[in-house]
Subunit: 417 residues, 2 copies
């Protein structure tokens, strides 16, 4: 039988606005990879009664309960106490753990504050999970056929402990989950849905989810795979999606649009420069966010005023006056200006109105023009992008990177310039 | 007695990696404001048995259960069925709801797909909550002294329905939670902790949380306030924090560092231009992300290569050769170059090595120099920033904006340039 897991994220601050638990997603992913599905994720505050209740419910319905948080030295940290109380186990001071905590403070040239002594309390019968990055040790306990693991709430400490201490203690079920993500640009969610309708219908046992964010659609697949077998369903669907979507599919899994653009530029031995108005530096920021981007990214210009467009990029006064800033003519002069000014193989530009306000009757907020200027031709794309200022800017940057990607994919390499 | 609330986020995709529930945080905040604390938040997949179990547990321990998601038209959407089955209530087709759904499709020029008929199924005794933005109606049900509300999972639909349909049906308890956030730049978390130790010790009933993100520390306060009373604890702490931190406190609540910079520039009638290397457009992106930024943001230059620094910003070849790109001299020439090129009152620059790779023995990755050039003086700040590429870039942008903010706060206004 497949063991069933449940995750408790402990901390009153996780119930407050503006906070969210990220540990649970990480654990769900890693447990899934060894074939242990997570059925419930619960967030509970640092209240002893609520904690006992949460552990009681979890142990009543799940084979494995992994809790994160509440292992610190302060009086708010009650996870150990709640579990020990629920299972009626005495808390005992573990001398080895105490020495490790004292040693950690000594290495920092400090005396251990008295309150940290609490962290050496271990419920009888529990194994201690070493914390290499902080003072809070984890705990691993078997009780009535169930397993409970307590991990720290600090994500870096939790991840290290999960990898080195928790996962090796869990017997893989043989079965595991395999995940794959497909990333699509330039198509609306409904269009992706329509084009992949037949592929989705034949997905069989592979779980299929479609997700949309500004300027990007993703297909998430999950397949349960038996011991020693490959993910045949995902591999088949991968071929079908690639054949159906062609150039509209730009990446899989952790790859990004800017990463794909960078890889194409490196392969071609070419470079790119950017000219932005409404995106305000986002296109440059995304391109330069890829490690090693200095090998193909020369630089960029953000020109928020018409004067800056003229001075820095050589956009002509007449072009601005006759066509307006959100025009194909200005987008193309910006892209060419950046390419020439920075001596790059490619220039890419975005101009328009992000809103709120700005624009006019013919060019309301959301009106955006993208330009790409390359060795063989220049092209543009006029867009009406929905959403608020932030969304319009994000969509515009996405479209600009995607137009460049399509040119790089389709065009003949020109060699470095 | 204070009613106790619990939130269920329903959807198998919310248990998958890379996804998270944002509805719960919104609801916890809005319920808190009318004095209803949320004790548990649970994520559960679209599995009929798990859903019934989650509702059973929640109704056993909470006075108000708000569930989001699983109200759509597909066979995966089982929230209605699970609740009706648990409470042994028959599902009945609501003709008025059915007409509304049909009408919504008709307005889009479409026939209602047969599967949407399911959305008109209502457990006997439940009130329907109107969905003005989508087809999935919500439900509101009293059972055994408890209240259950089912809301759609799409955040915009959920929020509208919560505001217009759910919250008005809940009796405010009189008591409410008041929240305040203080944002601090230029200090490490431990330093903020130390300086505010006395203030925190006197916080009394006000819940106090300290949070750190790259280049920013936040203090989150929460106070339970009785009917007709102001948040006296928060107001007192506000004065104490302001007096203790002075200029290191840059904003409260939703205000941002770039918003504060923008407000100061507007007040002074001044403008800013940006010159970036390692931050790659992030500083410009943040400044221009504020609505109305075109009133004070002229533009910026991203120069990833030494040649671009020379060509665009007039950084001298000798300066680059003698001092290297990650030097105060280059940072200052960049800031002045941007200011002059774009005719702005202020120029701000960031140069350095984000890593991985780059730099040398004296200037390893994380070495960053920030420059500010203003009407009366120029200044710089040399930093060694910890973290990976993304973190170093984010910290550098934060420090640059903060150095500008401190100059704008302290310096005499120069008037527009």
């Amino acid at each position: 039988m497949t063991p069933r897991a449940e995750i408790l994220a402990i901390g009153s601050e996780l119930l407050d606005p503006g906070r969210s638990d990220t540990n649970g997603a990480y654990l769900a992913f890693r447990l899934g990879e060894i074939g242990i599905p997570v059925r419930f994720r619960t967030v509970v505050g640092d209240v002893i009664g609520d904690l006992e209740e949460a552990f009681r419910v979890a142990l009543g319905r799940s084979d494995l309960v992994v809790a994160t948080g509440g292992l610190g030295p302060t009086v708010d940290d009650l996870t150990r106490e709640a579990l020990a109380s629920l299972l009626d186990l005495p808390l005992e001071e573990d001398r080895a753990v105490l020495r490790q905590i004292e040693e950690r403070f000594r290495r920092l040239g400090l005396d251990m504050p008295p309150r940290n002594r609490r962290q050496a309390q271990v419920p009888r019968g529990a194994e201690v999970l070493a914390n290499r990055l902080g003072t809070a040790p984890g705990l691993f306990l078997r009780s009535g056929g169930r397993i409970v693991a307590l991990l720290p709430g600090v994500p870096s400490e939790m991840e290290r402990m999960a990898e080195e201490e928790l996962l090796p203690r869990l017997r893989p079920t043989g079965e595991r989950f395999v995940y794959r993500i497909f990333k699509i640009a330039g198509l609306a969610e409904s269009e992706v849905d329509r084009r992949l309708e037949d592929v989705a219908r034949r997905a069989g046992e592979v779980a299929w989810t479609i997700l949309a964010s500004p300027g990007q659609v993703e297909i998430h697949l999950r397949e349960r795979v038996r011991p020693g077998e490959p993910a045949v369903g995902i591999e088949r669907i991968d071929r079908e999606i690639e054949a159906t979507l062609g150039i509209d599919l730009f990446a899989r899994d952790g790859d990004t649009l800017e990463g794909t653009v960078g890889r194409l530029l490196l392969e071609r031995g070419e470079s790119v420069a950017v000219a932005e108005s409404l995106t305000g530096g986002q296109i440059a920021g995304r391109i330069s966010g890829v490690p090693g981007a200095s090998r193909y990214f020369v630089g960029g210009v953000v020109c928020y005023s018409d004067e800056a467009k003229r001075r820095l990029l050589g956009v002509r006064r007449e072009t601005l006056e006759i066509h307006g800033a959100a025009s194909p003519e200005v987008a193309l002069e910006m892209a060419r200006g950046a390419r020439e000014l920075l001596a790059a193989t490619w220039g890419v530009s975005a101009t328009g109105f992000a809103g709120p306000g700005g624009g006019d009757a013919n060019r309301p907020p959301g009106t955006v023009v993208i330009g790409v200027d390359g060795p063989e031709r220049a092209l543009h794309r006029e867009l009406r992008l929905p959403g608020d200022r932030e969304t319009v800017r994000a969509r515009a940057a996405q479209w600009a990177l995607d137009l460049l990607r399509r040119e790089l994919t389709g065009a003949r390499p020109a060699g470095p310039r």
